[in-house]
Symmetry: C2
Subunit: 189 residues, 2 copies
């Protein structure tokens, strides 16, 4: 992404480049571990420019979180095979499951005091809420909480394995087969 020579003067492009880089960084590292200078280096720009465009680091974090949209990627597709589909993605396509980039950002920084409040607000508004509406049926609120927690928990579990579940191929299949009915049960009500 980095080109030699002076950066072309284009405020809009630079701004979105900063936002993109911030989204990637915050999805990969915690709020505290991401430095303004890191993001600036990714874009090939001076860190001072970020402050001018986005205000504070908090504002940039919020903008990055906002730019991820809601959890609609999760809620697309047929409800009938949600369990099997999502279980497959969790086990075999972690990157695809990460189309919920906002969830990655939230998980990374939920422990950070400075970021946790922003994460909580965004999560309830853009994740729990839509999920609850989409689930509908009896106990939608409860099922949304459990489902969201379950998905995040599997992410944490994978993270604790160092990026994978560290299982044999045959075990992966059996894991998928165990996850699917649990997920589907929460969908069906």
């Amino acid at each position: 992404m980095l080109c030699p020579g002076p950066r072309p003067r284009n405020a809009a492009a630079t701004r979105t480049a900063i936002l993109d880089a911030a989204r990637e960084r915050f999805a990969a590292e915690s709020y505290d571990d991401v430095g303004m200078r890191d993001i600036a280096r990714d874009v090939g720009v001076d860190a001072a420019l970020i402050s001018r465009y986005f205000g504070s680091k908090d504002d940039l974090f919020l903008a990055a979180l906002d730019s991820c949209g809601d959890g609609s990627a999760l809620m697309s597709g047929e409800k009938a095979d949600f369990g099997r589909r999502v279980a497959h993605e969790i086990v075999f396509e972690p990157k695809k499951a990460e189309k919920l980039k906002g969830m990655s950002i939230m998980l990374r920084s939920i422990g950070s005091a400075k970021a946790s409040e922003m994460v909580q607000n965004t999560c309830t508004q853009r994740f729990f809420g839509p999920l609850e509406d989409w689930l509908a049926g009896p106990d939608a609120t409860v099922r949304a909480r459990v489902l969201a927690g379950f998905l995040m928990g599997m992410s944490v579990s994978r993270e604790l394995g160092g990026g994978s579940f560290d299982l044999e191929p045959a075990e992966c299949e059996r894991m998928r087969d165990r996850l699917a009915p649990i997920l589907q049960g929460l969908i069906d009500g």
Copy 2:
């Protein structure tokens, strides 16, 4: 805990006091957010003393994690009513569920680059491993991964609600009733 006057000279007591304070701090805040001076203030001691007793902040963090023991608190009691018992604790007695203080510490700091490696190692050795042995039966590894992830996910979900699930009393009961069979299913194999 703080007493006026000079601190009595007692290395062993001071050391354990520091360790206790560190355990509490790291269970409540992330590795990055906890400062040596914070812990020192809790104990009523100078921060320099911690470095002398424990070496580096990393060493202190590891010692705090070690001092939590393994997850045996989770694995005590009858397997037959594990689901109901743990579901009840998750929903109604979050503090009791936190007897797994080690899990709180791991969850707080899993996002931090400096702490994540230590967390990963400790988790696999002292949490996944014993859990797997205890579960036994078919697919013990897989079930341990899913169960551990599920428990952590519910913790995260509660955290995102700002410390509670933010549910009506009746909803809490229904949540418990939904969690119990999922948990029990993972126990029974």
